[in-house]
């Protein structure tokens, strides 16, 4: 059974919709800038929460940014689709910290002024950010939330595909949303993997990651659903899988065991050989550990015939849970436009591997695209997108 992708939506520091994200990818325009927040290099979305509420025409309320970004991107992906009793539809969202943007705000505010009773902060768990988005989008019933740190987005898409394949649903709107939270910025800073300059994935002199915010959603449909909606497939989700690195809570194993296993399993599921992959959208966060570990895993899977690969984190920053979903949209767009996206700010190959990512935009036939997402807890997920 094929899983068809018929809709995409994305909001990131390089664009408020899918079209403007493509334009930035094509022109090499990064969204990472020095922020007013403690001078960190961040990939921020220029719209404030109030502006998002206004643009989305939502009732006034103190929403988590996670919900607002989710609704913005999910609405774009959903497009002109509508409820139909003949199609069982579901909504899946993933996030790493959920409503931490609001939780930390209220927690700190009530700490500094104990007389303030900020009961509000108590309602921003992961599931509630999903349910609020679902309610605003008009979904009820089959609503799911997964959270596996930086691989969450890929796992949400994978869960959608599996629910379709098991016959539980016919159509899902699935993706991820992540706000910028001081909690995460200080967390990665405390781990000494936050680059104070712009990140340089796969470069010998890479100094860590820059965080970003964003959301992306995709519409997945089975044949039954397509026959009702008449939607045209943009791509097929042909492979997916997940494996555990089981090495360390935050660091990847030196040989990239989990990444290797996830890629192999996804290729097997897609019934593709490594040589058939046209392009790899790597996880490539820009940290010393991830990029080296991922490179060894890539070498183990692809050997000497390495397909063109790049990390788009130099554009969007690392958007944590949203990364897997945003990059899934970029993979679909790579197939749509038959274009490979560049890896910004690369100059010197790593001495251990000598691997050189794509540094400029390239047009070439794109049939199958592999996307990698790896997270804390050794969580490794891979998706494969194919031309319909």
């Amino acid at each position: 059974m094929n899983v068809y992708i018929t809709g995409i939506g994305v909001i990131s520091a390089i664009g408020l919709d899918a079209e403007s994200n493509i334009r930035s990818l094509q022109s090499g325009q990064s969204g990472i800038k020095q922020s007013s927040l403690r001078s960190f290099m961040l990939a921020e979305i220029t719209l404030s929460n109030e502006e998002l509420v206004h643009r989305l025409n939502l009732p006034e309320k103190d929403y988590s940014r996670t919900t607002l970004l989710a609704v913005h991107a999910a609405k774009e992906a959903w497009g002109r689709n509508f409820k139909d009793p003949r199609i069982r539809s579901g909504f899946i969202s993933s996030t790493s910290v959920g409503g931490m943007d609001r939780t930390e705000h209220y927690y700190y505010e009530s700490k500094s002024d104990p007389s303030v009773n900020h009961y509000q902060r108590m309602v921003y768990d992961n599931g509630s950010t999903t349910e609020m988005a679902a309610a605003l989008l008009g979904f009820s019933g089959d609503i799911y939330t997964v959270s596996t740190a930086c691989s969450s987005g890929a796992n949400a898409i994978m869960l959608g595909a599996r629910l379709l394949q098991a016959g539980s649903l016919d159509r899902v709107l699935t993706g991820a949303s992540e706000p910028l939270a001081l909690f995460d910025i200080m967390g990665f800073q405390s781990l000494n993997i936050y680059d104070q300059h712009i990140c340089k994935p796969f470069d010998e002199n890479r100094g860590g990651l820059n965080l970003g915010e964003g959301a992306a959603y995709l519409v997945l449909e089975n044949e039954q659903s397509l026959s009702v909606t008449g939607n045209q497939p943009l791509a097929i989700l042909s492979g997916w899988d997940n494996a555990s690195d089981a090495f360390h809570q935050t660091a990847s194993s030196p040989d990239g065991t989990g990444a290797y296993l996830a890629m192999e399993k996804a290729l097997n599921r897609a019934r593709l050989s490594a040589g058939e992959i046209s392009y790899i959208n790597a996880h490539g966060t820009g940290t010393g550990n991830n990029d080296l570990s991922e490179s060894f895993a890539l070498k183990r899977v692809f050997g000497t015939s390495m397909p063109p690969f790049s990390s788009t984190k130099g554009f969007t920053g690392h958007t944590l849970a949203a990364a897997g979903a945003i990059e899934a949209v970029y993979c679909v767009q790579s197939i749509q436009t038959q274009t490979l996206w560049p890896n910004l700010h690369f100059s010197i190959p790593m001495k251990e591997t000598g691997m050189i990512p794509l540094t400029g935009i390239r047009s070439r036939p794109v049939r199958h695209v592999l996307s990698n997402s790896f997270g804390f807890g050794g969580n490794c997920s891979c998706l494969i997108f194919s031309k319909p």
Binding site: S96, E131, D245, F376
Partner: protein
Amino acid sequence: MYIVAASTISHQPTFRNPGFSKQITALTPPSTLISPDYNEFIPPLERRRMSDVMKMAIVCSIDCLEQTGLRTPDGIIVGTSMGCPIHTKKFLDKVAETGNGPLAPTSFIVSTHNTIAGQVALLLKNHSYNMTHTHGSLSFEQALTDGLLCIGDGYQNLLVGGADEEESTIYNMRRRIGKDPLHITCGASFFILSGNQSSNAIKLSGVRSYSLVESISHTIRNFLDSQNLSDENMDKVIFISAHEKTGEELKTIFGEEKLIDLLPLTGAWFTNAAFALHFAMDLWNSGENFFNILICKRFNKIIL
């Protein structure tokens, strides 16, 4: 799909206590977690760094594997509403105290929701499928749904659990559920799900989570229909709900004598449907002659 092993740590004497379903009575607040001797399972150095949810999850996981003689499962799936809120709060405090100075990353590292599933995999050196579901009070139900998908995909044995610890400073369940008073507790239940039957196994016919539900009776009938069952087929209905009306609605559908209201026995935590599943399994294995048990959990209140 069969459940071939179960292990629960809670405010009740559930751990390694077959027949507990016949012994336990309603909790009287304030009750506390009845912890096993963690020394037996976790080295002291590691234990000190672990919050309640980690210790409960790891010990229940080890217990499940010992019951089945399984060395390692083919997948690890955890449902947790809040993940690791104790460490999350610790790191929030550290950030506030430290200002721009150097910060210790310890609490941040173990603050992600998937720390539980990740640490269990690390302990077992398990490289298989690893997933964490965090959909509020339906987190465990979604982990179980994932387990069904895995069995359908050909997996043999899965470790599936629900776990939540108690932390009310940064997050308050009462506000989320919208009921007060509510006796807040915590707990963890883990299970081995298998494609193959064994002694003491119970069959799990189906599981489904419904969000933003308007009519509970309509939803229950939908679910039973999807399983080709009707309300007459049900011998017992175990329910956990913070809504006063749920009991009344269930009584109308199933009749009062079939109902078991579990909330007074478990106290409230988001993944206590996992406790209910172990409770049902224990009832069966205590010699009760049931064919079908329905577990119904209704907690969430969305605040829009």
